[in-house]
Symmetry: D2
Subunit: 352 residues, 4 copies
């Protein structure tokens, strides 16, 4: 890796010498640059993240600036082509837009089968629904667990829609993988490294949601955990980050879409339901996500939001979901998803 | 205004009585609701913001929940129709999308006239450019001041494009108003109330940028200052908020667009240049902004970004700006700007 | 629970009736308050968090304001006395200040035993050290795992200092509990509910770090998971939250200390090492934490920070740790830890 | 200034050559470092902030890392000794702690004189009170303006306490300077550069509050505006930053105190009233601020908080303020304000 070590204004010659000696001991080539104001040392050497902290602890060091993004497998630098991920008959990251929809939680067989039929007829490509629910309160509905998985599989049988559902416990990865077509890692688990390693061992595609306060870099590092574990089928999902703004449940960071396209070859979709927390804003933000270049959407839909066991306030009715589909399809055409590589390519690779 | 006063769990009867007495003294009608866990008092009375803090200071009070949004003139509640603002021959807030473009700063006559011609031929509707520049560092270029205004007016003569430019000093409002067609209040001045009152006295349209860490409510309250001062021609501009994410200069909060449409009748445009800080992300986010329902865009364009006196890294070349225009026009068609009222109307007013 | 339902300005009578009908169906008593501007409905009824979202999805509802903090067992409302947690011979939450210290990671037997002796002679009361390390990068040192636990137990034998160490995998809770005196839940796992439930089943005291972007309320809800699982020995640890400020690794939110004292009976300590990320700021912030009323500190110490396998830049040398102890002891005296209950009591319970 | 230019992975030789040519044209000496993964160019040359943006716009550039903090006059690098600022008979930044107190707003002669006498007898050293009030709502009390200044001057006559009060309009700087001993720049005006330049022309000491979302660096750059304008008597005031946490009005960032001590020679005080927004937390955070090394405090006090025209909920009663003083004095002794230079010196300059 490449590091820039910036010494303090008053750093002694001894401190500079000690630092260079330590860098060489670590196996770095060093370039010394003595300025009027500061001494700067450029260093190129082995990829050992802990070295950054160690050098930061040395006398006279103001700060260390690491240069290369720490991700390799998830990065576009060594994998220029975009990746497409196959989930059953659905391809995520290719030309056509992919829409995943369904209730926040699987509440029962009748409820889910009804919604599954409704979203399919509206034009959704995949079914979402939670069987294991991570809830802020221990007193909230925690999900139907395996029974919920069974119902999801049944809905797939009846509708043909591949199923994506969340796994929260490393112990349950195999179980969920038996029923689901795609494993979802929720925002609160984006840095649950034990869970990331576990799904990295499976061959199921993984939907990796961005953490509530994760940077784009940390998000890609979480993907790196899964890929370096042996599972290359990772799809990223922007779902809003936490900011001071309280009008929306989260702040949907759509600039993460072109940023991911710039740094990574992985597909990226957007969840405007959690991203806004209010059904009113879901459709406009779904349109915006597609216009920004997202490969797909994940939308919460419920036949009776006012009776949903969770997230009612951000769930669309089937009728409004139908309209969302119509509107986003127009946007998808407008940005020429049939020529997406080119369009996005222009944004990403061209230099002015 | 309407308030909900929540008493502490252990609040004494004396505290409750004192509070109700004080509320009545303030002129409120009160509704007492005694729960097992808490006592709640609903109160309806005169609109006096300071009362909220006063009541919050009373014994036994846990918190005060004010109900009505404090803005009246900027709000949609008493002004259901969207407002359109006229700037020269350009209408902002009506069906057609409005694109403002130009350099961050006016650097000289030749530079500005060249860019003005370039953006006009690319399809821009208004010219932007800073004559007075608020800069983080006192050592940065501070703008050409009146000479810059003169050059902007000259560019208008030659191109016919109305001019929007920032005013930073209450003393200069009249001066800037003599040259410009629209007065811009920058993000750092969104709560410079002296300046807001000053522009409220003019009859020039005002472009009010959102503060770096302003809530949607505070932003609308800033608009309220201008309108209550007598100037109703206010256009809001989302330009990104400050978050922990460092990949982008700011985090462009596009959900503010449907939120503004929901709460206010004022037009809202988006500045993807400051919103991202990186030219690469400007076009995708411009597309997204239009798809979210924005009435227009403000984009930084420079003939030679690598020689710009400010914001080079986020400025588009005329060539890339041309492409931005082509792409956003497709999006504008797709969301049927010719039927915007309906489309947006659906998002904003329908109940599920 | 108690809810305030705020209707939209233009809500129809039908919407209000439907809402009241639904509230009664849910088992709520309702108080209607019709204002000029808004209709407000106060409702008292069963504690069912999902109801909040369901009502939020109904026609004409602007927003729902839940009144009671959702936590019961962690809250002070029904448990006015402060709780003290026993860890071996050490009591956390009583008069004396408790200082936990040690390296970020256990790197080897010699390293840990050396540091353990050093921190003990400096006056630390407990030993910290990671055997299982959650790291942002899969390429970073991940910890010695069980071997690390063995070494920690050995250090306890030799020094008599109780050991606190992190558990990251629900599967390892029993294993870690065999070696450690206190189980640490790291910031990234604060909402790893599977893990919280698992430690809730043990009888080991738990140190619950605040999540990077957790509110005080979410933090207490995480404690609620552990307590409602059957384990009452929870100690909270403020370790900094994520903000836009990059000068420090995190922003240490010391106001969380009096806030926790106000809402909860649980002890709270502070980690100024992660809270600042820079050794220079650790001692001043440790003094500040004690002055704010913290029951203890967790400080990273390393004999050779410049060779630490992690967090070198925020680790104190034993010499500086010694000084930290001397300085915080003076502060502890100054706020009269021997009369802490009173002093803090005054801040927390008195009404002006 | 010193810059590190990081090229993109795929940057062409032509791009590298063009960049070096441009750097030389700008007057920089360059050091080329070609790594396996990236090419890095170190450059030392003239201090021209705009160059950073210009280079960022060039082909093949990934990012520019500027090395030296951009502030000179406010920085400690060329001014190792701490500065003390004289306000009447009071010295800020020397050994003794300085406490400023008073109401948020001057509401009338009787009110202010009463509070002034109360805070003086409690031990305050300076009187604060707003005559010009920047308020979020145009419908809130805006201050008594010149009449308020007259009353403040009268209170000084009667109590001998120097007066600090806010100026919000560049036009009023002279007027306020005629009455006040210290000019306050409020958080919302920290980047009101017109106002900063205006107070830079006076010889009155300035209290510069940190902006709601300002970094430590931006804050020091704001001080740089004042000092470079000719006024060296600047005192910084930490008053909380905006974060996602809603329990407190702002998040008081006490780590800014040692950070300012590290980077700057200017005195720094803390305002725990705005920093927390809740009177309950003011005293613990005042203790913490002093323990962190603050040179003083600014505290809101009101004889009848429940009737205050603003900020009642965060104002202390004289009785509680009296107690605050007693508690912070103990902390001041404990950190040896009489040996502050040494103590703080240790934190700031020592290398481990």
């Amino acid at each position: 890796m490449t590091l820039i070590v910036v010494m303090e204004h008053q750093a002694s010659q001894g401190a500079v010498d000690a630092l260079i000696a330590r860098l060489r001991e670590m196996g770095f080539d060093t370039h010394l640059s003595v300025g009027v104001e500061r001494t700067i040392i450029g260093a190129i050497g082995p990829k050992r993240p802990e070295y950054i902290q160690q050098l930061g602890a040395m006398a006279g060091v103001d700060r260390i600036v690491p240069i290369l993004q720490p991700f390799k497998l998830a990065g576009r630098e060594f994998h220029a082509e975009g990746t497409a991920v196959q989930v059953g008959a659905v391809t995520i990251g290719a030309e056509p837009l992919v829409v995943m929809a369904g209730p926040c939680a699987v509440e029962g067989e009748e409820q889910l089968l009804k919604i599954a039929r409704e979203i399919k007829s509206a034009g959704a490509h995949m079914l979402r629904g939670g069987a294991f629910k991570p809830r802020t309160s221990p007193y909230s509905f925690q999900g139907l667990e395996e029974e919920g998985l069974r119902i999801l599989a049944l809905a797939r049988e009846q509708t043909g829609l591949p199923v994506v559902t969340e796994v929260v416990n490393p112990r349950d990865v195999e179980l969920v993988a038996q029923y689901a077509d795609m494993l979802q890692i929720g925002a609160r688990n984006m840095q649950n490294f034990t869970l990331l390693k576990e799904v990295g061992k499976t061959q199921k595609p993984v939907l990796l949601k961005r953490g509530l306060s994760a940077t784009v870099e940390e998000w890609l590092m979480a993907a790196e955990y899964i890929i370096s574990g042996g599972n290359e089928d990772v799809v990223l999902c922007e779902r809003g980050i936490r900011t001071y703004e309280t009008e929306t449940r989260n702040t949907l960071d759509l600039s993460a879409v072109p940023a991911i396209k710039h740094y990574s070859h992985l597909p990226v979709i957007v969840d405007p339901s959690h991203g806004t927390g209010r059904w009113r804003y879901v459709t406009p933000m779904a349109r915006a996500a597609v216009a920004a270049g997202a490969d797909g959407l994940m939308v919460e839909v419920h036949s009776e939001p006012e009776k949903a066991l969770s997230d009612g306030a951000q769930s669309l009715t089937p009728k409004n979901f139908q309209q969302l589909i119509e509107e986003v399809e127009k946007i998808a055409e407008a940005i020429g998803r049939d020529a997406r590589q080119n369009v996005i390519g222009v944004q990403v690779n061209e230099t002015q």
